[in-house]
């Protein structure tokens, strides 16, 4: 059975090898795009299959003869890492095959270098999930951050992309410091950096809380939790689309994995207020993300904010699971955790799908601005229909996967009334209501995203030349869309697969409940309270959709008369008269005006070519980051007084230090 872990390590090494071959033959464009990237995708599939079997197999450990002397890398494969490896492999396969068709010659970095960075990125994520000591984890984690930084700055000739990359690197490193300190606190009592030792020794007093908060800070920075989210809307639009898809779909989940590992596996006792903290931060992130997604005018930025929203929802689920676990309700904790993990998987699929679709749109039109797109469903039917799957899943509509996990999450809220904490019982229904609001607003944002890009008439003339995605890109999109549908239609299968993970973390599972009703009916607690049958939904949709379609065609279209209108102020209709991205988002902007920081210019009424500008900015820049920057600058100016620029003075510093120390030791 130990072979499983070895095979997974081999897959990761295979990715590294592909990267090295890519850089060695960086001039062989066809070799890289037609052979190496698809091969990487095949390895992703293999990894997914291996990880699936790892879910049921017991934990396996290995010690790699790598690393520093006396400090080898420890690897461990258990159900939790198996699940996240499955996510990496399955979503990564689709993204890789898409990337094979996406990377072109002469765009920013050469494909050979992209190939190396991309596959190092994949391999490092696999090692993050396998690592079993703090040292190996940090090495893999930093490799992941660095390789993704280089991927983000692929088109480093643009100053704004360099700026976005720098911001990303900065936040990633600050977060890494938090993680390192957290490991340090846990290792402090264990005396050893292996996770085994951390599991064995329980820290006492305030130390577990400190470790947890540091881990929350560190992993929150990577996941894009609220005050640390600023890199996400900058880095995602800057990166090439497959990279954005990989970062949003998979890399953010490594942070979830890390927090799960630390808070559920390595730390012994969970305090209930940790869960409340997670819940509130997650809720704030989700609300913030979805409001900002609704008012964006850049399509990739919109998706980036939507990622913040989804991560927020995942943290809400995590917080709920933590609360239930601390109150010793393993079954409810398992329900919340299942919803969380399910949503991780779903988000990996639909968000990657949407990011890749924006990549195709970007390639076809060269535009990221929603205000200059429109009507692409006629020119790019493949991309448009597959993106529709992703948009519906992201909006949380049945029968797609987004619905199932959000439904499960709301279900787990409905069972909170029995908790022995009065305030919690009052708080949780409010949170549940907010989650429902978030789901609705997410639907709004997706309608905006899809409607403005693909429906209506083209807003620019050059859109008529748009071409559909190539064959490899279509395969990638198809794979992810199929995943969205399958995950939505077969929830019981997925929940049964998640059973070992929840058993490992909260010692409770939904596997038995899920399988007791057959594959077609999902009833997480009991059939009388709530159940969902994707099959019935699918059948009724399959039945009613054509019915409505033909009825409309038959009765409505047939009766419509085309007569010369008396115009009524519409002597002609142009594409400029359609609802624009700004116009569509206007109600949300009005309602949530206090949260947004907005600058706009109204044209003068006498302007013959009126232009309307409106810019919505992240208020956190002004509330948090700019004051922080000023503080740092003031501090450095004080310290800069030491820098006199004369070597003699510098030498004098060390001389005086030496003398002082000597005299001190004497006394």
């Amino acid at each position: 059975m130990h072979a499983l872990l070895d095979w997974i390590v081999l897959v990761a090494c295979g990715w590294l090898l592909i990267g090295l071959i890519g850089i060695a033959f960086s001039r062989q464009f066809l070799l890289i795009t037609r052979l190496l990237f698809p091969f990487g995708a095949a390895l992703g599939l293999l990894l997914a299959a291996l990880a699936l079997s790892a879910l049921v197999a017991g934990p396996q450990v290995r010690i790699l003869p790598l690393g520093l002397p006396d400090l080898p890398f420890h690897l461990r494969l258990d159900a939790l890492s198996g699940f996240f490896l499955f996510l990496l492999g399955a979503a990564g396969a689709g993204i890789s095959i898409y990337a094979a068709g996406y990377f072109r010659r002469g765009e920013g970095t050469t494909p050979g270098q992209q190939c190396l960075r991309y596959h190092v990125f994949l391999a490092s994520m696999a090692f993050v999930m396998l690592a079993d000591d703090g040292y190996a984890f940090m090495v893999a984690w930093e490799t992941m951050a660095l390789s993704s930084f280089f991927l983000v700055t692929s088109e480093h000739r643009h100053a704004e992309i360099r700026r976005a990359g720098y911001l990303y690197l900065l936040v990633a490193h600050i977060g890494a410091v938090g993680i390192l300190l957290s490991f340090g606190v846990m290792a402090g009592s264990a005396g050893d950096y292996t996770f085994d030792a951390m599991r064995e020794f329980s820290t006492l007093g305030i130390w577990p809380t400190i470790a947890f908060l540091l881990a929350l800070f560190g992993f929150g920075a990577k996941a894009g939790l609220l005050p640390l989210h600023i890199w996400l809307p900058e880095a995602h639009p800057a990166a090439p689309s497959p990279v954005s898809a990989m970062m949003s779909g998979v890399m953010l989940k490594t942070a979830i994995y890390g927090l799960l590992r630390v808070s559920f596996d390595l730390l012994h006792a969970q305090l209930w207020w940790w869960g409340v903290l997670l819940l509130l931060i997650g809720l704030a992130s989700a609300l913030f993300g979805v409001i900002f997604a609704a008012v964006q005018t850049d399509m990739k930025r919109l998706l980036a904010y939507s990622s913040i929203e989804n991560i927020g929802l995942i943290f809400v689920g995590l917080g709920l699971a933590l609360i239930f676990k601390s109150f010793l309700a393993p079954n409810l904790a398992a329900l919340a955790l299942t919803a969380t993990l399910y949503h991780c998987l779903n988000h990996a699929f639909f968000k990657s799908l949407l990011f890749l679709a924006t990549g195709s749109v970007l390639h076809a039109t060269g535009e990221r601005n929603l205000g200059k797109l429109g009507g692409l469903i006629h020119r790019m039917p493949w991309v448009a229909w597959l993106a529709l799957v992703g948009a519906l899943a992201s909006a949380g509509l049945p029968p797609f996967n987004g619905f199932v996990s959000e439904w499960l999450l709301l279900q787990s809220f409905l069972f909170t009334s029995g908790l022995p904490q009065g305030y919690l019982n009052m708080l949780l229904p409010v949170v549940a209501g907010a989650v429902a609001l978030i789901a609705a607003l997410a639907g709004f944002a997706m309608v905006k995203f899809y409607g403005i890009i693909f429906l209506g008439q083209p807003r620019e003339e050059k859109l008529a030349q748009a071409h559909d995605a190539g064959r490899l890109e279509r395969i990638g999109l198809l794979w992810l869309a199929a995943g969205c549908i399958l995950l939505g239609v077969l929830p019981n299968v997925v929940i049964a697969l998640l059973d070992p993970v929840t058993r490992l973390l909260v010692s409770g599972g939904l596997g038995a409940v899920a399988s007791s009703h057959g594959w077609w009916l999902l009833a997480p607690i009991s059939e009388d309270r709530a159940s969902y049958s994707p099959a019935i939904f699918l059948c009724s949709i399959a039945l009613f959709m054509p019915l409505v379609y033909f009825a409309v065609r038959r009765y409505y279209h047939g009766r419509m008369k085309r007569v010369a209108p008396w115009d009524c102020g519409f002597p002609l209709q142009t594409s400029r008269m359609q609802d624009s991205a700004e116009g569509f988002g206007q109600p949300i902007r009005r309602i949530f005006a206090p949260f947004l920081r907005r600058t706009r210019e109204h044209p003068s009424p006498f302007d013959t070519e009126p232009r309307y500008h409106s810019r919505v900015e992240d208020p956190f820049w002004y509330w948090l980051y700019l004051p922080l920057t000023r503080l740092v600058e003031r501090g450095t100016r004080i310290i800069a007084f030491l820098q006199q620029g004369r070597i003699a003075i510098y030498l004098l510093y060390s001389f005086v230090t030496l003398l002082t120390l000597l005299v001190l030791t004497r006394g």
Binding site: Q644, G645, A648, L651, F655, T665
Partner: protein
């Protein structure tokens, strides 16, 4: 007639004490010296004294590792480094007088104060140490501090490098006198450090001169940020 207190001290110790005194004297001489060529010669003499004292310690205490140390000292500090320095100043044609940031008498006064401090500080260490050379620890520390002072007060790059090397001499002397020498690994490391420092310094001389047409490190103030 020989004073009675000298009878208690064996000859080897007396020679070592003499060497220590010479070291200190040479350190002061370097501090006071204005000419680069003489400075290099003084440095060479200091290296030789160090070699002699290490050799005597090695022979009297039968520490064979110290013999190797002494050999390294001879090769590196008495022969190689002075040669390199001579070649360097010939190439750079910088045989001029050294400008100091403080005038020489003031520097000497500070140096005397430093020696007092060094003796004061070294007293508890020499009481702990059981070696025959323990009386010289204070002197060794004083050599280190004096070389450091020289590094601070010189404004030209070449004398600074010499001061750096002289500091290393003092350090080595302190190690020999306190514990019969450092472990071989550390010693080799330090010797290598001195060598590398020398090479880097050499490279820097050329760059500084190319950039500023002078070897005066006060020019470096312009490089400072902001």
């Amino acid at each position: 007639m020989i004073p009675t207190f000298l009878h208690a001290i064996p000859l080897s110790s007396q020679v070592i004490n003499l060497c220590a005194a010479l070291m200190l004297l040479l350190a002061f001489a370097m501090l006071a010296q204005r000419r680069v060529l003489t400075l290099i010669n003084l440095f060479m003499m200091q290296g030789f004294v160090l070699f002699v004292s290490t050799l005597i310690v090695a022979l009297t205490t039968n520490q064979h590792e110290l013999l190797v140390s002494a050999g390294i000292t001879l090769v590196l500090k008495v022969i190689a480094l002075p040669l390199i320095l001579h070649r360097l100043i010939r190439k750079l044609s910088v045989k001029w007088d050294i400008e100091t940031l403080l005038n020489i008498p003031t520097t000497m006064l500070i140096g005397i104060a430093l020696v007092i401090v060094a003796f004061n500080v070294a007293q508890p260490i020499s009481q702990l140490s059981g070696t025959i050379t323990r009386a010289t620890i204070g002197i060794a520390l004083a050599c280190v501090l004096l070389a450091f002072l020289m590094m601070i007060t010189r404004s030209k790059a070449v004398p600074q490098v010499i001061a750096f090397l002289a500091m290393e001499n003092g350090l080595f002397f302190a190690a020999t006198s306190a514990t019969y020498g450092m472990p071989m690994v550390v010693e080799l490391g330090i010797a290598l450090d001195a060598m590398v420092g020398m090479v880097i310094g050499g490279v820097f001389f050329f760059h500084i001169r190319q950039q500023f047409d002078s070897l005066d490190i006060r020019q470096m103030e312009r490089v400072k940020e902001g």
